[in-house]
């Protein structure tokens, strides 16, 4: 029986710290590097926007409205990517939008993790009726269109940053439940969990010290993908007018505003769209790299 652990056993001799080993392996994955760089840009922008952004994202200047990006005729050196229909600097707005997207993506995933992993572990660990009930809810949730559910939640709660996070959190958890449930069931058949039972450890200890740490790689990969998904979903809600409200610069809001000018001033919609694309791409590439790194069958070095 070849277990993943067995194929790792070649690294006996030296003991570099695990962080260094992780970095070394990531280095071998070029797409992973690209993803990491994109994420790095994203995070840096989000953290230092107030100092990096060339202009205030809210200042309107009707005389400067609908300016094109720098390489086109009639552009202004003050506005690198041009201005929108109210004369606000597009680049600055996109940079401020990074913060909102990241905050929403990360908080929504944290909420999804708490709900989804909690329920999934309960279902997989206790089985029986608990499992049936939780699985039923998950199946019901998954067969329900996300957009309808999220729209209902946001319209009931009202559109604000917190409520969008709550709506994304409450609609996104079933994926985690499915994955953690199966992982827990798989782990429960491993002898080290049986050993933990025979050593009379408490259920809490078994779950937190033995079950959860062993599904960390899976959860890590799933979470990165879900961050990207949440960012896209936030844009979607904002685009439909039920997400972040103008004038707050969210990528979705900007996309929606740009739609009306698409024909003559394509950059208004194209740049926020590109930002969403880059963010999602970066996170997904990093997620793929993490998956390859944690799966010994795909590890080639």
């Amino acid at each position: 029986m070849i277990k993943p652990a067995l194929s790792q056993s070649f690294s006996i001799s030296s003991h570099p710290s695990s962080t260094i080993r992780t970095l070394k392996r990531l280095w071998h994955l070029r797409l992973g590097i690209l993803g990491s760089l994109l994420i790095l840009c994203l995070v840096t922008t989000a953290l230092f926007t107030p100092w990096l952004a060339p202009n205030d994202p809210y200042t309107q200047d009707i005389t400067q409205r609908l300016l094109p990006p720098f390489w086109m005729e009639g552009s202004s050196s003050d506005h690198f990517l041009g201005t929108d229909h109210l004369g606000r600097d597009l680049l600055s707005r996109i940079m401020y939008g990074t913060r909102i997207s990241l905050v929403i993506g990360l908080s929504a995933v944290v909420l999804q993790l708490i709900l989804g992993v909690g329920l999934g572990v309960l279902a997989g660990y206790y089985r029986g009726r608990v499992d049936s009930a939780i699985s039923f809810i998950v199946n019901a949730m998954m067969s329900f269109p996300f957009i309808l559910l999220a729209l209902t939640l946001v319209s009931v709660l009202g559109a604000s940053l917190q409520n969008i996070i709550i709506a994304l959190g409450l609609t996104g958890w079933p994926v985690y439940t499915r994955v953690t449930r199966i992982e827990t069931i798989k782990l429960n058949e491993q002898e080290f969990i049986l050993a933990a039972h025979s050593l009379a450890y408490s259920s809490w200890r078994i779950i937190t010290r033995h079950v959860l740490p062993n599904m960390l790689p899976t959860l890590l990969v799933l979470s990165t993908v879900e961050v990207a998904r949440s960012i896209i979903r936030e844009s979607l809600l904002s685009f439909l007018g039920l997400g972040i409200q103008p004038p707050t610069p969210s990528w979705g809001v900007m996309l929606a505003e740009g739609r009306d000018y698409m024909l003559m001033h394509w950059w208004l919609a194209a740049f926020p769209g590109l930002a969403i694309f880059m963010a999602a791409l970066g996170i997904n590439l990093l997620g793929d790299a993490l998956r390859d790194y944690t799966d010994p069958h795909l590890r080639k070095y």
Partner: protein, 332 residues
């Protein structure tokens, strides 16, 4: 070794049954049961090793897991050091079962891959408060030494060890609980033959040094022969013959035991003649979901009579300490 033994039973198991329900459909209706263990009696004396042998699927492992408390048995009693273990409150059971520990079959899955050896063993000590925190490191080194591992292995992860070493870590973890009985569930079947002997010898030595009792579950008669003082043969959830290892090997009374012994490959001059005279069992083990009426062994038995198909055979004591469940116990 026999001199060390006393006749006071450390563990007494009576009428142990483990029926797993088969549940089907949306309404979760029970449509049947798997009779994995169906009325098993045995005892283990202080300092004694009982070998439990049988084919795969006969319920050996289930018996072990019932003892340890991994399964809640359907019926029967388990008396350990004079006290009933079954149906106790969780807290009481923890203190009772602390002194029964298990060694698992697959050393590749029996250790948490995300914990260092010192945490795997240290966790036991910490959770049950077995040593003062300041003495923990020393105790871990002691336990590792006891199973023949170097103390500087404590900082490593399980994947850095070979199968035999991993099994030793598993044994050290069990020993940390200061058990009186070890339940060893096929402890060497997943190991290379060259390593098997080392682990078996380790278990033998520990048994002597710590005056442990042991239940050695195995399908490998050569392993059991080497270690066990008494042997119980299991077939389809029941024990069909119990006796001292000498009685059982030289004088098997149950046709199933007989067939098991015949099946041991034996390198010997003029082997062909012997091979031809061997009587190997035909057929498969019947399903434990729907066991045959009467004696469970009758569909495969060479001495089957009408009575065997009707009634359950009684337990017959053919000589002191040698018990057979057969209507026609005999040599051949």
């Amino acid at each position: 070794m026999a001199s060390k033994m006393t006749d006071d039973p450390m563990l007494q198991v009576e009428g142990l049954k483990m029926h797993f329900p088969i549940i089907k459909g949306v309404v979760r209706r029970q449509v049947g049961s798997v009779f994995a263990v169906d009325g098993v009696n045995f005892h283990i004396n202080k300092g004694e090793t009982l070998g439990l042998v049988g084919e795969s699927g006969c319920g050996k492992t289930t018996v072990g897991r019932c003892l340890i408390g991994l399964y809640r048995s359907t019926a029967g009693s388990i008396i350990f050091e004079g006290r009933e273990v079954i149906n106790q409150s969780r807290k009481k059971m923890v203190t009772l079962r602390r002194r029964m520990q298990m060694i698992f079959q697959d050393p590749y899955s029996s250790l948490n891959p995300r914990m260092r050896v010192r945490d795997i063993i240290g966790e036991v000590l910490k959770v049950h408060g077995l040593v003062e925190p300041k003495n923990k490191t020393q105790r871990i080194a002691e336990l590792l030494d006891q199973v023949g591992l170097k103390s500087d292995f404590a900082a490593r992860y399980p994947h850095e060890f070979s199968g035999g070493q991993r099994q030793r870590i598993g044994i050290a973890r069990a020993l940390a609980m200061e058990p009186r009985i070890l339940v060893a569930d096929e402890p060497v079947s997943a190991l290379d033959v060259s390593v098997q002997a080392q682990v078996i010898n380790l278990l033998e030595r520990l048994k002597q040094d710590l005056n442990l009792s042991m239940l050695m579950i195995s399908h490998d008669l050569s392993v059991v022969e080497h270690v066990a003082d008494r042997i119980a043969v299991m077939y389809l959830g029941k024990i069909v013959e119990t006796g001292s290892d000498r009685d059982l090997y030289n004088n098997p009374h149950h046709p199933y035991t007989h067939a098991l012994l015949e099946a041991i490959p034996q390198p010997r001059a003029g082997g062909r003649a012997r091979r031809q005279s061997r009587k190997l069992l035909g057929g498969d083990v019947p399903s434990p979901i729907d066991p045959p009426r009467g004696c469970y062994f009758h569909p495969r038995c060479p001495r089957v009579e009408d009575q065997c198909k009707r009634d359950n055979p009684p337990m017959v004591e053919v000589s002191p300490g040698h018990v057979v469940s057969c209507f026609f116990p005999g040599k051949k």
